[in-house]
């Protein structure tokens, strides 16, 4: 199949890119391994930053400075400036396509203050900001008649003899058949890689870094992969996120002795490190919101009460909530320039899979939804412009088809996947030591070698999720390898990357 702009991933970034490309009057095809409204974007609760000053005085300059500070010197000031300056127009655009934002008493978009922000800057839609933005982008994409194809798994990028990206090799999950898509420009919008930490992540089970792994195998440069944001309050067993508002509203963090040991209102990385240190001492950690009272909890934190009951069998009104810090957002990604173009000609990237150098060593809350909207648009526009300059399609065949090899199925990859998740959480997690990173590196290297001994036990062509998860596991191994190598090469502690002396 041929199109002008091929977009892989249909979350907030992919759909924004698709809308922007389509508005440039080119043909667009969007491929997703799920359905367009099921991506990680739907889980974003906090909001989208824009210095509108609807609630209190604010300025674009303050937004820029807050973002740069949180990035610990690893952001690019020019792109940060661009993103923050575009924010008000971006929110206005989202409003114009119908996002049901919460409103203030004086009929403006409501804003609230998130950690690290000097003003109430985050525009929100109750606790469903990501969900409502994502669904509205989907509505808009439908109104433009954008072709979206569901349940297609990215296998490899296609490149011509000049190393130019000209399409993608996909696996149709429903038929089990491989399909080739040719395009004049390709955009990756495939999301982050928090799931390399297995069950120790707040993310959807699908956040397996596929696009990053595939891009790397095709020769794309990755940047700052060692930076992973850990959220201090994931539920202990399920890693389901208990939102920051639980601490913001006055919740305590306690150890097994019932002692508070950290300032609950400190930034996420600081609280996560404090909890990690207690856990390593053998303590169990709890979030305590009992003193806030049933009425307050039911009004302000209803989701939290429901999830704690469901997954931990505790009622936060009467019980302590067992928690641990878990992987939440990945700052690293495919390196792109100011046009969202990667180092591979013809390949663009946006969203969590890309690194536009706006988050640096630590992302500010409310900036991820902003990033997907601002740079999703840029990627879509620039990919469309490039497509217009191309006279014809180039055809190519995949160089290295992983699935063509023999898999002996001697080893159960589900066992290794779980081992990988726990190992990375313990050795490549919140606080890192060189010897432990080396240990993790050796495990990943060994496991990669053993891939031909694994494979899917299910031989079915039709909707083989066993095979799909095996392919995701392979991608996570490739991503984890880079995360560890990047962590090893950064000796100093900065932002979300903390190195401890042996």
């Amino acid at each position: 199949m041929k199109t002008d702009v091929l977009i892989i991933g249909a979350g907030g970034a992919g759909l924004t890119a698709a809308i922007a490309a389509k508005e440039e009057d080119v043909d667009v095809v969007v491929l997703t391994k799920e359905y367009p409204t099921r991506s990680q974007t739907c889980m974003a609760q906090g909001g989208i930053n824009a210095a509108l000053g609807n609630v209190e005085e604010d300025s674009i300059e303050a937004h820029i400075q807050n973002t740069l500070k949180s990035a610990h010197g690893l952001a690019n000031e020019e792109t940060v400036r661009y993103m923050c300056s575009e924010a008000p127009a971006t929110v206005a655009w989202l409003d114009s396509i119908g996002v049901c934002f919460s409103r203030s008493e004086d009929a403006k978009i409501a804003q609230r203050r998130l950690g690290g922000a000097s003003a109430a800057r985050s525009c929100y839609a109750q606790d469903y900001t990501g969900l409502k933005i994502l669904h509205t982008l989907y509505d808009k994409a439908l109104s433009l008649d954008i072709e979206i194809k569901n349940e297609k798994i990215l296998l490899e990028l296609l490149k011509d003899e000049n190393d130019m990206v000209c399409g993608a090799l996909m696996l149709d999950l429903r038929s089990g058949q491989k399909e080739r898509y040719f395009a004049k420009s390709v955009i990756l919008a495939t999301g982050g890689y928090s799931r390399i930490y297995g069950k120790n992540s707040t993310n959807s089970t699908k956040a397996t870094g596929d696009g990053i792994a595939v891009a790397k195998r095709a020769g794309a440069k990755l940047l700052h992969m060692e930076f992973v944001q850990f959220h201090p309050t994931g539920l202990k067993n399920s890693s389901i996120l208990i939102s920051e508002s639980a601490r913001g509203e006055g919740g305590y963090i306690l150890n097994s002795k019932g002692e508070r040991f950290t300032n609950e209102l400190a930034p996420r990385d600081e609280v996560s490190r404090a909890i990690d240190a207690e856990i390593k001492k053998g303590e169990e950690i709890f979030l305590d919101i009992r003193h806030l009272g049933e009425q307050f909890i039911d009004e302000g934190l209803p989701q939290e009460r429901k999830l704690a009951k469901l997954y931990e069998n505790v009622d936060p009104v009467y019980d302590l909530i067992p928690i641990k810090p878990v992987a939440h957002y990945t700052m690293g990604g495919i390196e792109v320039d100011n046009n969202s173009q990667t180092n591979l000609e013809g390949l663009f990237a946006c969203g969590e899979c890309s690194n536009h150098r706006v988050h640096g060593a630590n992302r500010l809350g409310g900036n991820s939804l902003l990033e997907i909207a601002v740079f999703g648009k840029e990627a879509g526009k620039n990919a469309a412009k490039r497509a217009k300059t191309m006279e014809s399609h180039v055809a190519a065949s995949p160089k290295d088809d992983f699935l063509e090899q023999e898999f002996t199925k001697e080893i159960d990859f589900y066992v290794l996947r779980q081992m990988m998740g726990d190992l990375l959480y313990n050795k490549v997690g919140i606080v890192r030591r060189e010897s432990e990173l080396r240990e993790a590196e050796a495990f990943i290297e060994e496991t990669k070698k053993k891939l031909p001994l694994m494979g899917a036990k299910d031989n079915s062509l039709r909707y083989n999720t066993d095979l799909a998860e095996f392919l995701e596991f392979r991608n996570m191994l490739d991503v984890a390898e880079v995360v560890i190598k990047s962590a090893l090469s950064r000796k100093e502690s900065v932002g979300a990357h903390t190195m401890e002396q042996e």
Binding site: E34, R103, Y128, Q418
Partner: protein, 238 residues
């Protein structure tokens, strides 16, 4: 705990040593430890992505928010093609959103949304497209062309929104295989994990349609029908 899952040809029983877990956790366990060929969909684990809708003992639930009970019978959603085991194709159901034109067509930039306006379609915009409502809908079961519960709820979301300037087009679009085909049985409301009542939204769209000169095509037929909007004594039934 024993549960049975509808597989290719029949229900297969699984005896799993787990207590007090969500159905999704149990499916994950079965897949990674017992039978890796089991097919089902999942994503966020916290009821916002809409991936894991299934039926338990003939009632629609999200696997991630349902606690499994002894003897539960798990089946795929109804009224949509089964691809494999618990996985269904929602392509056709999703297409209803496009056919219903469930989007802002013309933005009224003068509209001032107040806090009260926000509340008008707050619940409708919580929809996660899990398709539980299509599975439960007896009209969609017999008429695939019926626009269906979530699409009509999403139309009401737009129609009730001050920012939409082109209401007539919205109303025109939902007359055929739309608001008048619903039997107001309320099954969609009962199964919605987000507390949305598509039935109530359809009733509001009917009232709006009347304002645009449309009438219930069933009205005037024998006895007025149960879905005419009026009771037997002629008083409005909603």
């Amino acid at each position: 705990m024993k549960i049975s899952i509808k597989r290719e040809f029949d229900f297969i029983e699984y005896d799993v040593d787990m207590q007090d877990v969500t159905l999704l956790e149990m499916l994950n366990h079965i897949k990674s430890e017992v039978d890796s060929s089991l097919a089902y969909s999942s994503g966020c684990r916290s009821s916002v992505c809409g991936s894991c809708g299934v039926r338990v003992n003939e009632k629609e639930v999200l696997a991630c928010s349902y606690k499994v009970q002894e003897g539960d019978k798990i089946e795929p959603l109804k009224n949509v093609p089964v691809i494999r085991d618990l996985v269904v194709s929602l392509d056709k159901a999703y297409e209803t959103n496009a056919r219903a034109k469930a989007w802002i067509s013309e933005y009224n930039s003068q509209a001032k949304q107040t806090h009260e306006d926000e509340k008008i379609n707050e619940t409708q915009s919580d929809c996660i497209l899990c398709a539980s409502c299509y599975s439960a809908c007896p009209v969609y079961a017999v008429n695939e062309e019926f626009l269906g519960p979530f699409a009509l709820t999403r139309v009401w979301k737009v129609v009730s929104d001050k920012r939409e300037a082109e209401l007539k087009e919205k109303i025109d679009t939902i007359q055929t295989n739309g608001v008048w085909d619903c039997t107001l049985c309320n099954e969609c409301t009962v199964v919605c994990p987000q507390g949305i009542s598509s039935k109530a939204d359809i009733e509001k769209l009917r009232a709006k349609s009347s304002q645009y000169g449309y009438m219930d095509p069933n009205f005037g037929s024998f006895g007025g029908g149960f879905d005419s909007g009026f009771g037997f004594d002629g008083t409005p039934s909603f």
